[in-house]
Subunit: 293 residues, 2 copies
């Protein structure tokens, strides 16, 4: 691809820092500038070679950039869009790494002036670690990236943004923003809700000697609990921004939970067997898909 002259990364943590590292290493950008609120963090990003330079001033940070990547929690997008609108240079592209897409797309499209184009992206990468220290140049390599064009999306901007994420090694596919939020509300946001509740519920339970029962945690709960390690602000924002679809998913979850509860209460071994075997079958399918990916 033709490299961007200068990319500005807004929010240089795990996702932003990894995009910065990969952009420089894969020749997607000639130069990368970081923007954030904490100087020490930006200095660390520079020391790690993720960014060439940084600024604590947004206008200075985006000056001369032909691509801006928004990597802050999704709750900050509306105000960032407003702040970026008057200072981005004509022809500048904006993309993001947010885990929800309907609100970001709407907020940026409403705020940005003609000639500055937003193309929403959700690279499916990350994990329970966060911060620039966890950033790595191959975080995106081989992973999926969902691009969410709207009817207003500029085709050439879209082409360039897809090319950018592909240059980082991603398998790009596109879908409507609402469809994205519905799907990821189910497969990603709902599991976070469930695991936060699970960990908090169990942590409240005490042994006879007033210790926490959590000290008896086995491999199963540990595997689940890992997503409780993700960045809290990021997830609080996702819960607020994707309220509609998360609540819908929670309704489905509640129904499935009630079904198992009824099976246990009535000691209905046939119904329980069915629920468990169904989940078991879905798990096998997921494991099979995993091997194919």
């Amino acid at each position: 691809m033709k490299p961007f002259e200068q990319i500005t990364i807004i929010g240089v943590g795990l996702l932003g820092g990894s995009a910065a590292l990969a952009s420089l290493e894969r020749g997607a950008a000639r130069r990368v500038v970081g923007f954030g609120r904490r100087r020490e963090n930006l200095e660390e990003a520079k020391r790690l070679g993720a960014i060439d330079d940084f600024s604590l001033d947004l206008e200075a940070a985006v000056k001369g950039s032909d691509l801006v990547i928004v990597c802050t929690p999704v709750g900050s997008f509306a105000s960032l869009a407003d702040r970026l609108a008057p200072i981005l240079e004509p022809g500048c592209l904006v993309t993001d790494v947010g885990s929800t897409k309907a609100a970001p797309v709407r907020e940026f499209e409403e705020a940005l002036p003609d000639g500055v184009h937003f193309v929403g992206a959700h690279p499916i990468a990350g994990g329970e670690k966060s911060g620039i220290q966890a950033a790595r140049n191959n975080l995106y390599d081989g992973a999926r990236c969902v691009i969410t064009p709207s009817q207003k999306t500029d085709p050439e901007a879209m082409r360039r943004v897809v090319e950018y994420w592909e240059c980082l090694g991603m398998r790009v596919e596109s879908m409507e923003p609402e469809e994205h939020d519905y799907i990821f509300g189910a497969v990603s946001h709902l599991p976070h809700v469930a695991v936060y509740a699970l960990v908090n519920a169990i942590a409240q339970m005490k042994t006879k000697t007033d210790g926490t029962v959590l000290s008896y945690t086995g491999a199963g709960l540990k595997d689940c609990a890992r997503i409780a390690g993700s960045d809290p602000t990021m997830w609080r924002d996702i819960f607020l921004v994707n309220k509609k679809w998360i609540l819908k998913s929670m309704d489905q979850f509640q129904a499935a939970l009630d079904e198992i509860r009824a099976g246990i209460e009535k000691e209905d071994s046939v119904a329980l067997d069915q629920s468990i075997r169904l989940a078991n079958k879905h798990y096998s399918q997921m494991a099979k898909d995993d091997r194919r990916n």
Copy 2:
């Protein structure tokens, strides 16, 4: 330890097969005999060197054994206790690998004659794989084993059973059967309930093109879903046998879930932040404990 002359393994799957392999390799038994319902499975166990011999007849399988290890789903324990009572030789010890302990301890203590002693055990080992093919000689090595003596437990039988599990490399600790079922109802059984419900709920949701949203599963849900791969019959039985404590845990879980739901509905960012940070803190503690173990 002084080896048992002959151990009979009742149910030669992942747990039973692994106990058999380790018993022979570590000199805990001079000879291991398998009992089960499916001849092909027992033949496979013999071929893999887990057992010296097998029988499809329970009386023949326990003849001459001074230790019997019950490795079948916990729902089968009551009837097995009745069948074993008249055929075990005087002085024979009985232990098990069941994930619930109050019912097994009660069922065996009621059924077994004087001079034949039961000592309940829950080796915290296993995983999403099951069957003799998944058995391995180090499954128990370094893992925890909870022994659940009652007021009726014979001290010498207890000493021998502890010695046996320690010989397999386990870190043995003891607690009352009810305390065990309360703790593992929370840290192990509840997560299974939650994950079965989670997987079944998500699997019902369809994309616009009528595909399953599960195909968008990321690392977080995959990590969680692994426990949905565990043996269905084993888990159905656990749900039925530990009904009391699982329902109590589910009440706690429901309360934690309702709290997060209320936070999302009211868009209460402070409350959500608190719930998420609390879970995050518990996760960090679990990760720390893990490194210490």
